[in-house]
């Protein structure tokens, strides 16, 4: 019954506006290909969970349609959709034991002999021993695996995961990330995963959709999103970005030359998502780990062709694998630089004059009409 694209999830023009007038999801088109691990990433209130719940049928869309493969399910109640959900904080039935929790979906579909299937599924999530315990007797990680087993046993076309690891501590979360990835590869079902944790999304998913204020800001592979952010929100929400306001000076061939605080910066045209007219403004972005730091005395040793900025070290903190510097510069008051601890230059202490330089290929350009700090606070709040 499974054809090649029968596991596709297609959302067309789907939106959700609540009775009180709040629009949680703006009209949205999205296709999740069959067999992929897809993450919806965003801060709380960005509409990612609402989107997931509309796929599950737990929320009625205000407009648009939901297709699973060739079947339109927009008006089907949740219990008629070939989709299962791993709920936030799991929602395991407290009055049923683990076995009955896992068997619940099979029994509701009128399947009589569930024993073998349930036992196999419990083995898959390594809980064969706990079958007769009640949910509250299990640890958080075990409960999480029961929730996954309870959903997967129904062989859904799509498995929806709503912040499935949110309640676990850091170490367990890392472990479960790998575990979920393993299970997904093993069963080959489409996973749609909602999370606010950018690291989690990047570790697990093939494709990530970054959501903000009810819209998808950008969609792509984790590396693509990180290296080529298209908006300031994505640049700031995924990792850290240094953003410099610059003016377009000249456009020559493949490159755009920009003026920023007296110096010149080069930006590959292909990496600029803004319409860069001569004389117009562009936000130039660079990730902190792409930058090299050289003491001002050695400025002559820097190879030609690299983008350069001068500044003074305002603060430095040693965190083991790297040292994080905050640089005070004319173009950007708090420039962040992460330097690998390979050879430490003892002159690089707060107060020292330095030159920051990086390959133009790592530079990206964004539309200057956006809020330069979009996504900074949300990322910090979620981390807290």
């Amino acid at each position: 019954m499974t054809t090649e694209n029968s596991g596709d999830v297609r959302l067309s023009g789907i939106s959700k506006t609540y009775d009180n007038g709040f629009t949680a999801v703006q009209p949205l088109d999205l296709t999740v290909p069959h067999g992929s691990f897809f993450a919806l990433l965003g801060a709380s209130g960005c509409g990612k969970t609402t989107t997931l719940r509309m796929i599950a049928g737990l929320e009625e869309p205000s407009s648009g349609t939901v297709h699973l493969g060739d079947q339109e399910v927009t008006n089907l109640p949740p219990y008629k959709r070939p989709v299962n959900t791993v709920f936030q904080s799991y929602a395991l039935f407290p009055h049923l034991d683990i076995f009955e929790n896992v068997a619940f979906g099979l029994r509701r579909r009128g399947i009589k002999s569930v024993k073998k299937q349930v036992e196999e599924m419990l083995d898959l999530v390594q809980l064969g021993e706990q079958a007769r315990k009640k949910p509250h007797q299990l640890s958080g990680g075990q409960q999480q695996r029961v929730a996954v087993a309870r959903a997967l046993i129904n062989h859904p076309k799509v498995l929806l995961l709503d912040e499935p690891l949110g309640a676990l501590d850091l170490k367990l979360r890392r472990q479960m990330q790998l575990e979920l990835k393993r299970i997904q590869t093993e069963v080959g079902i489409t996973f749609v995963h909602v999370t606010h944790d950018q690291e989690e999304a990047m570790t697990m998913a093939d494709t990530v959709a970054v959501m903000n204020a009810g819209r998808v800001e950008q969609l792509g592979s984790p590396a693509d999103l990180y290296e080529n952010p298209q908006t300031t929100f994505v640049a700031n929400f995924l990792g850290t970005s240094n953003l410099i306001e610059a003016e377009v000076d000249t456009r020559s061939g493949e490159d755009i030359v920009l003026k920023a605080g007296g110096g010149k910066l080069v930006l590959p045209r292909a990496r600029c998502s803004a319409p860069a007219q001569t004389g117009g403004k562009v936000l130039v972005g660079i990730r902190p780990e792409k930058i090299s730091l050289t003491h001002a005395d050695d400025a002559g040793e820097i190879p030609a062709g690299r983008n350069r900025i001068t500044g003074r070290i305002a603060d430095s903190s040693f965190i083991g694998v790297s040292t994080q510097y905050v640089i005070d510069s004319a173009v950007c008051p708090e420039f962040e630089v992460y330097a690998q601890n390979i050879e430490r230059d003892s002159r690089l202490v707060p107060g020292a004059e330095v030159v920051l330089h990086w390959s133009p290929a790592h530079t990206f350009g964004l539309d200057a009409a956006q809020d330069i700090d979009a996504g900074v606070d949300t990322a910090e709040e979620e981390a807290a």
Partner: protein, 266 residues
């Protein structure tokens, strides 16, 4: 002064236990006097030990009949109030609808109203309608005043229930009826049971409202009331003691079963 210090530290415990004694003293008296052999018609003074009443608990005319009637009314009132009250509680917690405030006050008011007021006004209604006072009017009255208590008990339980459990059931192919039977009802059961138990106790023990609306029908509390005027048979104490013991045993066995189940789990 070690004694004074000890007294200071345990003052709350001593005061609390004295209150407990005050609460239980009448039950002790009821039990002791169920073995009395009174001289006159009233069983208020100790005469001599006897187990006569225990050997013949139904030896008083009409008493066991009234007891049976009270049990019957209590069972039906419990069923009626529990069903209606549970429905209201679910509607209040789970749905949005108009006039919620009015509904809430209509449910709160019977609990804030002195019984004698409700009793008198209900009798006015029955007299105006020309209703025959008896079993049915008692039952109607009992369901009415038990209803609010059931709503309160069930509401508390349903409110603390995670709505995601029902969504999870729906997600796992349970339709509305299945979701209700397999998930909602079992989880709400302790609240419903508490409400039902309360309704039973309230109905079985009610005197004031029953006295107004019973006509010539005699429930057990009305029998006791009447006997306080005519003469109190020892058998009343036997029934009182038995009820107390049954209640304690009932709760204790429930607790022991609960404990054992918990220990098995751990």
């Amino acid at each position: 002064m070690p004694f004074v210090n000890w007294l200071k530290r345990h003052l709350v415990v001593i005061a609390g236990l004295l209150t407990l004694g005050y609460l239980l003293l009448p039950n002790v008296v009821v039990t002791v006097f169920s073995f009395n052999k009174p001289k006159g018609r009233f069983n208020y003074e100790w005469q001599q030990f006897s187990t006569d009443a225990w050997k013949d608990p139904c030896g008083v005319a009409d008493m066991c009949g009234s007891l049976g009637l009270s049990l019957q009314i209590a069972v039906w009132a419990t069923i009626g109030a529990t069903v209606l009250g549970t429905m209201i509680a679910f509607a209040l917690v789970r749905y949005r609808f108009r006039a919620r405030g009015a509904v809430n006050s209509l449910i709160f008011l019977p609990m804030a109203m002195p019984e004698v007021v409700m009793a008198a006004s209900l009798l006015t209604l029955f007299l105006n309608m020309g209703a025959q006072l008896g079993f049915w009017t008692i039952l109607i009255a009992h369901i009415m005043f038990c209803l609010s208590f059931v709503v309160t008990a069930v509401k508390a339980r349903v409110m603390s229930m995670d709505p995601r459990l029902e969504q999870a059931a729906q997600d796992l192919y349970a339709g509305p009826a299945q979701t209700f039977l397999r998930v909602t009802l079992p989880i709400a059961a302790p609240g419903i049971a508490a409400g039902a138990l309360l309704a039973f106790a309230l109905s079985f023990d009610d005197f004031i409202i029953t006295n107004f609306n019973a006509g010539s029908t005699v429930t057990f509390p009305m029998f006791v009331w009447g006997s306080a005027q005519r003469g109190t048979p020892v058998q009343i104490n036997v029934i009182g003691t038995a009820m107390f013991l049954v209640a304690v045993l009932f709760v204790l066995s429930g607790m022991i079963i609960g404990n054992r189940r918990n220990r098995q789990k751990a």
